[in-house]
Assembly symmetry: C2
């Protein structure tokens, strides 16, 4: 019998009424002929309540105990979902991570999945269980202790089950109805994409489209799991949501699939750095050690032995970055005249797998922005995206102009 | 190293502050040189919240899912207690039932403990763990599913661990400071007992002293576990609480140890039953099948082929009892003229292991009640107790008169 993984996040299982609603979606897929594996998150607020108790109890939290405590939220939802399904006449059974068992590394609080043996679930499906409800976000380490998977853990659990149980698809139910060409709050012509490739989704996810965690998309790409993002507040049809899949499954790729933005960027300029071989390494080593996530980097042409070094980082890393370069300066590792932090910037990116075969996307992007009078401060490019840093006041204008210029509002 | 089991019930771990207070008691015992196994209940209100969700979700609750959901309350407390101890510098680790593993029957919701292998905990103690914090009330069945032990499950968990881990003693921390000769709210001279035998405690527990669940006392008696009941709101000393132990450990037994009462009794009389061989069996079989807990039974002398049959049962079983005998009457199994239910009664008992060797306790009891003008409606006796059913209005008077007559207020 074909298998389907369905994952319901926190807002989709916020309370008993929502759990029931989610259960009715599961029932429909069982009636469609699927054996279903449901992955659930904790009910709204429950994980936060548990984390608050942990924080109040202990200053130096032992990650093993953190995991044992925090994982209980998902266990409760799993049991309630199984009961809801049974109440609807669907044979269902809940599974906690250790019961599957979902084997992980022992990196408590941020464990990685190592293996999901399918025997136990297979046996239960053969015995007539139609739905396995699995508590997301958790597993068991080699030491027999409960582990949790960290941020995005439930999405990752869902994709891993889809791979291990050879599911036809992994449906991620969330509070948005799919992936859009850009943020509909900024551009009214933003259009929901029916399909998008893993590579594009990765760029969109890491650039700030908060639909799917990067980690789960990476896993889906590695194991070729067809991933669908759809809304838990609508009745699903075959065309619901956005399918994230292999690019070969997408008949005709757009040159550009989407325009994204990130508000939380800062531009940092080290003014008049004494230039010498290895100076860039010295600067960025110091920043890396301080835990600063450096994104874009530009070095001006060196004049008379001095140069300006510009980079971008998240706004909440600025203080850390300043402290790191000051320390490096006083220890004599680097020499510069001053540091300018510009917080009034943002990053705009265009993403599309078609760029690989179509030259000129970057040129067109610069031309559009130039025509609108938007000055570009830094540029970075990858195989399937072009990003620029611009003044924040031009953010909406830039997104709208690029969305329009690349004709993203039109249905293909 | 000597071992100690410490059990903290719901009110003793009501919130983070209480958990911390309990942890400091555990720390003191570690400093006294014990390896400690702590058994915890769920935080106040948590189990009720979970049960309410279960009830709201499903009409015919699947006991496997009930157990998976409800057991999560104890898991949270266990983790928080371990963190509290670590924060105080005490190496502690939490254990869920399946991790120990605490093996039970598969009677979900009311499982019985079958085995507690000590290897895992022994190994951890050897590696420097000073405290094992175990989630009470739960275990794992042969099918690999979580089970719960039903009413009094956490006390039972504690006693079972004390037996399996060969603990010197099992300390049950609760909201009372011990077992009293009678209810101090009724008799101001009620005195805390320093020691009491298992047998006496069993009679007291099943007669309504709500200190310990019958089941845990039975288990303690079977495995000769020394059980101490004490208050979690006081600082424990060697003489705190009441020690429940083998009678041989009690130097001089009192003839009578305590006077108990139960308010929730009803007296039922089947009037003019057509007497024939097997009639009592027919009546009480019908009541048993209807789930009526019959306690005391009296049959009057038969006259002209008819007799009155009187029994007592909990007040909330009265309606069920009435329905059961009416059904038996209409099906022709029994024949009687009427049923009188008297709800205004109560049961008074005197309990004492010394009765075995001292005749006349029953006679003295009847004499005292008679002197006070209290009419006795039913009498039952066992080896170590005498119980009578009397009008409820005489309850306080009876308890006080008996407590005084048997000199229970005096220290031995």
């Amino acid at each position: 019998m074909p298998r389907l993984v369905m994952k319901f996040g926190g807002t989709s299982v916020a309370d008993l009424e929502h759990i029931k609603n989610a259960a009715s979606k599961v029932k429909r897929e069982v009636e469609n002929g699927f054996e279903v594996i449901v992955i659930v998150s904790a009910m709204s607020g429950k994980t936060n309540e548990l984390i608050a108790w942990v924080d109040e109890t202990s200053a130096m939290v032992d990650a093993r105990e953190y995991d044992a405590i925090v994982s209980s939220g998902e266990n409760v939802t799993a049991g309630l979902m199984a009961l809801s399904l049974q109440e609807m006449g669907v044979p269902a059974r809940s599974w906690q991570g250790w019961q599957v068992p979902l084997k992980t590394t022992s990196a408590h609080g941020a464990a990685r999945i190592e293996e999901i043996p399918s025997e136990n679930l297979d046996a239960k499906f053969r015995q007539g269980m139609q739905v396995a409800v699995v508590a997301g976000f958790q597993g068991i380490g080699a030491d027999g202790r409960i582990t949790t998977l960290g941020r995005g853990g439930s999405d990752t659990t869902a994709v891993a089950f889809a791979a291990a149980m050879k599911a036809e698809r992994c449906d991620i139910y969330t509070d948005v109805d799919g992936v859009y060409t850009t943020d509909p709050r900024i551009e009214k012509n933003a259009r929901k994409l029916d399909k998008i490739s893993y590579e594009e989704m990765l760029e969109l996810a890491s650039l700030g489209a908060k639909v799917l965690q990067t980690r789960s998309v990476e896993l889906a790409m590695r194991f070729k799991v067809r991933l669908r993002v759809l809304s838990s507040f609508e009745t699903a049809t075959d065309n619901s949501g956005t399918l994230v899949c292999d690019e070969e499954e997408i008949m005709e790729n757009n040159v550009v699939s989407g325009v994204t933005y990130s508000r939380d960027e800062a531009k940092m300029t080290l003014v008049s750095v004494a230039d010498r071989p290895g100076i860039a390494a010295a600067i960025f080593m110091a920043l890396a050690e301080a835990g600063v996530n450096v994104d874009m980097i530009v070095q001006n042409i060196s004049e008379e032995g001095r140069t300006d070094m510009t980079f971008s980082c998240p706004t909440d890393h600025v203080a850390r970055a300043q402290a790191a370069v000051d320390t490096a300066k006083s220890s004599g590792d680097i020499n510069f005249h001053g540091l300018i932090a510009d917080m009034d910037v943002c990053k705009i990116s265009v993403v599309g797998i078609g760029m690989r075969s179509h030259a000129g996307v970057a040129a067109k992007m610069f031309e559009v922005l130039s025509r609108e009078g938007v000055n570009i401060k830094i540029i970075t490019t990858s195989e399937i995206k072009v990003s620029v840093l611009v003044d924040r006041k031009y953010m909406e204008l830039s997104v709208q102009a690029l969305h329009d210029a690349f004709e993203l509002g039109k249905t293909t």
